[in-house]
């Protein structure tokens, strides 16, 4: 079995305090280690997740981080899968424990927003995170690709611009109660409809921000006797779809997510409708709906959303943290942070105003890279 005995997220925001990603990594690791009651020397495996060395100005960052954290003679792996990097790092940790290669694993995800680089450079680099020969050459942005995908999804499902606005309002509302969130904003519909169109139907306020930040987990292979409430990770799954949107069987659907979920729920031995709480990858307001549908969390996602079932007091709360849209998105940290959020919530240790009173049995963390190109999900179980 895999137990989560340490979890932490730093603030997600744009740092203006002169700190470096190496400080955030240190901060989150020390916090997770303290929560785990382990000592530094107990950690036998370090798994690092970060998307791009362009943003950190550091190739092979795992080794310098190990030195910063005082971890020596440990196994080290760096995991990269675009936006999915953090969740894939969680999977790597789980696999390492289940294969008996590791007993105590530290997983650390981080990324700087690289606001110190010219925004055009950052845009170009992210264009190259799709196929650099096609999408990279014509300069199409992530927003435009997500927009093409959601247009077809909206046509097919009846999701409309009011739903996009309401999802934005919901997630940012949740973020108001999350002290570490990047965008703690109280929006109204008019404000969203007045926000500039980046790539129709997506407006500026429908987008998640690029954040600075780090998140961490400490996993262990034995039930911690001093903390019997530590939750388990009981299912993991990942799958891909074609990078080129036009080559996909269905441009509007996140097929890779459906596959990843199938694998994770089969490993966990549960059905998608048993999930009681989920952090899903809402890179854009519409992506949240594409995710919910693909993950099979609802048989009628639109009705359930409009009836308020995904809100904080609903029957299946989604993105209580604020999601990427509210909490923010430091790429390599995102998936680790989503899983950490699930773990805290399942143990009753989440932020006071966001903690669900009736703790669900199962939670889901859902992450992807590209436009649902590489999906990775993890299922956690409460021990309360």
């Amino acid at each position: 079995m895999v137990y989560v005995i340490g979890c932490h997220l730093t603030d997600f925001n744009r740092r203006k305090d002169g700190s470096s990603y190496r400080d955030w990594v240190y901060e989150t690791f020390e916090a997770s280690l303290a929560m785990s009651s382990l000592e530094r020397k107990d950690i036998d495996t370090l798994i690092i997740s970060t998307e791009s060395d362009f943003f950190t100005f550091q190739l092979n960052p795992s080794t310098v981080i190990a030195d910063d954290l005082g971890l020596h003679k440990v196994q080290i792996v760096r995991v990269e899968g675009g936006g999915a990097s953090g969740q894939l790092a969680v999977h790597q940790g789980v696999k390492s424990i289940l294969s008996k290669q590791s007993q105590h694993v530290a997983i650390i995800g981080f990324d700087p927003s690289a606001s110190y680089l010219p925004s055009e450079t950052v845009k170009q680099l992210y264009s190259n995170s799709f196929d650099s020969l096609t999408d990279g050459m014509n300069g199409v942005t992530a927003t435009a690709l997500y927009a093409l995908s959601i247009q077809l999804f909206m046509k097919k499902t009846g999701l409309n611009e009011t739903d996009l606005a309401n999802a934005t309002i919901n997630n940012r509302n949740n973020a108001l109660h999350n002290p570490s969130a990047h965008l703690k904003l109280k929006h109204n519909q008019q404000e969203i409809f007045a926000s500039p169109v980046i790539s129709s139907p997506y407006r500026r306020l429908h987008c998640s921000p690029l954040s600075d930040g780090a998140a961490s987990l400490i996993l262990t292979n034995k039930k911690p006797l001093n903390r019997i409430s530590a939750p388990n990770i009981i299912g993991i799954g990942s799958a891909n779809d074609m990078v080129n949107l036009g080559a996909r069987d269905d441009v509007g659907e996140f097929v890779s997510k459906k596959e990843a979920m199938k694998k994770a729920s089969s490993m966990a031995g549960i059905r998608a409708n048993e999930i009681g709480f989920a952090e899903v990858y809402d890179a854009y307001a519409g992506a949240q709906f594409q995710a919910i549908k693909a993950l099979g969390l609802s048989s009628d996602f639109l009705k359930d959303f409009r009836d308020g079932h995904f809100s904080l007091d609903g029957k299946l709360p989604i993105n209580i943290s604020g999601g990427l849209m509210g909490q923010g998105a430091p790429v390599g940290a995102t998936g680790v942070g989503q899983t950490a959020t699930c773990a805290m919530l399942l143990e009753g240790k989440y932020h006071k105003n966001l903690q669900i009173k009736n703790i669900p049995k199962f939670a889901l963390a859902d992450t992807h890279g590209g436009v649902g190109t590489l999906s990775a999900v993890s299922i956690l179980k409460s021990n309360i």
Partner: protein, 124 residues
């Protein structure tokens, strides 16, 4: 304290089998790969067909495409289109989109930036 570091990355790289396709774009035509087994035509070209076959040959499309959907805004005009003769859809950049056009014709792109750009047209 802040240190300013500047790195210039001047990529001068080759693209192997895809070079033929990229050269096509700079000459204003659309080269696609046609699967020898199931005859599926992919544009952009997929080296291995979804049927699993790796046997294929280059074919030249007319360069005329039907627009499926377009996104516009501060990030520019981009669309999903169906090129005549292709089995897949293609993500393209649109040159001067007015919102009423339903077709497009591939545009010759610059030598240094071979990309799939179409000029939208009202009629085929």
């Amino acid at each position: 304290m802040k240190i300013s570091k500047k790195i210039e990355l001047n990529y001068n790289i080759s693209f192997g089998k895809m070079s033929k396709w990229l050269t096509g774009l700079t000459e204003g035509f659309a080269l696609a790969l046609k699967c020898s087994l199931c005859e599926k035509v992919s544009f952009p070209p997929q080296k291995i067909c979804t049927c699993g076959s790796y046997k294929n040959s280059w074919i030249k499309l007319s360069g005329v495409a039907e627009i499926v959907t377009v996104t516009s805004g501060l990030d520019g005009n981009y669309g999903l289109v169906k090129f005549e003769g292709a089995s897949t859809l293609t993500v393209v950049k649109l040159n001067n989109f007015n919102g009423t056009e339903t077709f497009g014709k591939i545009l010759k792109s610059s030598n240094q930036n071979p990309s799939i750009i179409i000029t939208p047209t009202e009629v085929k």
